[in-house]
Point group: C2
């Protein structure tokens, strides 16, 4: 039996810079708009420190990674690239399947790639505390981890239903010294307003964002931190793809297709953008497959329109693939894929034809997860398993067509905190939710009126 | 702020052989005895395949690691060695603290180092299935992982109280295709006997071993697998220390003290034996600190005597540091440290003065765990946290004495499946169990009568 092959970089090969795809895009990406005036705006300074605002706007091709941050990165980076020989054998495919393994970071996912960067720049700017929201807790635990390393406080609003049902990522936040509150809460005006209308409300990501933004807006020592969607977040994640490019060179292959799951879009962008650079600037014909949940199909079934990022309309308005900010997706196990919109940069690339989105219901996703665990030995998070499903289907398609095909996907995180979902799958209790056409249609009636700007 | 420093080896630097400390020991290690005849014996062939029996007996200094196994090892090995700068700073110590990080393997601990080796040799011998026992599930999940990679079946008897209270390692076993049964069960004569006396019995490791051994003894296609204690298990774990020796060379330092936690003794032996070789053969004056739980103090409070390894007296008798095989320790969170005995090889080294044991209650252990998580960023398992407590105390002692001291400990596993224990600690619910003198005294009355052999 053939083992996997591992392609490793040493610390000296850690990328020196993040890649900014904006520099190589020839079409316009619509600007953010102010939620009240509807005028073009940068990220609001009360919420973000100057360095991150500049990174969100920069047209430079590369942004240098500061030395102290490279030291922190080395706790888990460079991450390995694996060739999945045993999975290939099990599928009987001529395709070569590679995966970039982001699961070995202390919080267990790609999220700390940007969490430590945001904490670093905020600390440099004298910020004492970062506030954020989290669903299942992957992002909240990553930010608590990052704040602890830089001796800052971390305030996390965790969607109440997850706070109650998934206690262990909450425990991680606590262990790393973070302060975590179930949302909606009595701590903010936004939370109190929601609870006044519905005291039993179990929360949503949009509500938790409103609470975290409010705390940053009303406290001088606090800035807000977002784990996906924004340009600077996608920028930080490109460290994944920059490493993967060098590792594919070591393997002496180049991907025909690059795959990642998409919630807000940061892990997909992280692996894809450096390879997209080669397509944009050198005409390399790689396909890019963005995999979303059929329960939250922003790219495959949404509209490309200006929409709010949060329920209280405190954050800037962004033009993006959206299902409407009032849409609340079904309770799938891939909590990280339950955001109503997709990063503006990714949405624009999608509309220009650079990205092929695809959506899967969760049962075939868990089939793929179990197959991966039983061949490659690593148990993936439900979010990651969406990318695995697509990689397996690409490999089966290559088999049917008798093609050698080089497939690369991003293994965004492990499933250690999702074993209850696996139990549900084995017990036959998972449900494949239908595309919620009516709910989406209703939610799309709540898009902001931005006049002629759109 | 200074980050950690990481010392990495590439795949070509993966050790070519395991180190067998028996070859360098000048004092006698008492042989195993047959549980019925009380005569010296090798491991019983109905339970173990020939290659593993030979490894248990060999006097060769090195045992070569087969190529296919090295390929599998590369899924997570070589593992990194870190210098814990942030922990040192927090302690204000002149000591240098290094840790070998075994938490990045797919099951999250050092256990697969021997699990994949045992699965490999068993597969080569035509075995179809491995049976084993597990407490909290760390070993059971590692063996299920290993069997799946070699396309073998895996049968795990899991202590019933853990099966009920800690469902997620059970879910991992299931995800990797293993079959897991709560013990005592109706499936074996041993289990039925226990249930006939006490239908509500919640099980113990000794009972689960009896069930797993019986299944192997009564099925031709099945062998038994043990996750610690035996010579060949300790042998496989020396891959840890062999890597660490090269990594300490990269750091241009040599440990004054090497620390590991001890349940059965395999992770401690794994890190310590290669450094012990330098003391045995070159007179290098390193100290070796074995850290156990005060609730199960086999080395610090037990006797050195021949004892049974399981409650049904099916496995060989071994001379070891023991609290008596009928002793059932309190329900500490470090489930992996709850075995009544310690590896015969480790016990003999202890009695000859090569190993300094120390025992800690669990509350100071969790204090150390949280300090480590908040400085170094990685959340340790409760077992591992015993080693961390001892490393911190060494560093504080060095500070008091104004000594530069080089400390190396083995980070045997992460705490992702132990977050409930952290919750208990933060809620002030943990209890420091007293040394159970009377229970131990009673258990020691049940030692086997081995006549003059001892």
């Amino acid at each position: 039996m053939k083992g996997q092959t591992k392609y490793l970089l040493d610390e000296n090969q850690l990328p020196k810079a993040w890649y900014n795809i904006v520099s190589d895009i020839t079409f316009p990406v619509p600007p953010l708009l102010h939620p009240v005036t509807k005028e073009p705006t940068i990220l609001p300074p009360p919420l973000f420190c100057q360095a991150l605002i500049e990174q969100d706007e920069t047209k430079e091709q590369y942004v240098e990674i500061p030395e102290p941050l490279k030291e922190i990165y080395q706790l888990w980076r460079p991450t390995p690239l694996f060739r999945a020989h045993r999975l290939e054998q099990a599928l009987g495919t001529p395709a070569h399947i590679y995966y970039k393994y982001e699961g070995a970071s202390p919080p267990g996912s790609h999220k700390p790639n940007t969490a430590v960067a945001q904490a670093y720049y905020s600390k440099e700017a004298g910020v004492k505390r970062l506030s954020t929201e989290t669903g299942a807790g992957q992002w909240g635990s990553a930010l608590a981890f990052a704040c602890q390393l830089f001796d800052m406080e971390c305030k996390v609003y965790m969607v109440k239903i997850s706070y109650q049902q998934k206690p262990y990522r909450r425990s991680m936040i606590h262990t790393w010294g973070g302060n975590v509150t179930p949302s909606p809460s009595e701590e903010t005006q936004a939370g109190r307003g929601i609870l006044a209308e519905d005291p039993e409300c179990l929360g949503s990501l949009g509500m938790a964002i409103s609470e975290a933004v409010e705390v940053a807006a009303t406290n001088d020592d606090t800035k807000y931190s977002l784990g996906s969607v924004l340009n600077h977040v996608l920028l930080h994640q490109t460290v994944i793809g920059e490493e993967a490019i060098r590792q594919m060179e070591m393997a002496d292959e180049y991907p025909d297709v690059v795959i990642g799951c998409v919630g807000g879009g940061s892990n997909f962008a992280g692996v894809a953008f450096p390879f997209l650079r080669e397509r944009l600037t050198n005409g390399v014909k790689t396909r890019f497959v963005a995999v979303e949940s059929a329960a939250c199909p922003s790219m495959t079934k949404g509209v490309y329109a200006y929409d709010y990022g949060d329920t209280a309309h405190l954050a800037p308005i962004a033009k993006m693939d959206t299902l409407g900010h009032t849409f609340v997706p079904a309770g799938i196990h891939a909590g990280g894929l339950r955001y109503h919109g997709v990063a503006p940069l990714l949405s624009a690339l999608h509309r220009e034809g650079y990205i092929d989105p695809i959506a899967y219901p969760q049962i075939p996703v868990f089939e793929a997860a179990v197959m991966f665990a039983r061949t490659e030995g690593i148990i993936p998070a439900p979010e990651t398993s969406h990318a695995i499903r697509a990689a397996i289907d690409e490999a089966l398609d290559a088999k049917e067509k008798g093609e050698k095909r080089v497939i690369l996907f991003n293994f965004s995180g492990h499933g250690h905190f999702d074993m209850g979902a696996y139990d549900g799958y084995f017990a036959g209790k998972l449900v494949d939710f239908e595309y919620p056409a009516e709910k989406v249609q209703a939610a799309l009636c709540n898009l902001p009126d931005v006049g002629t700007t759109a």
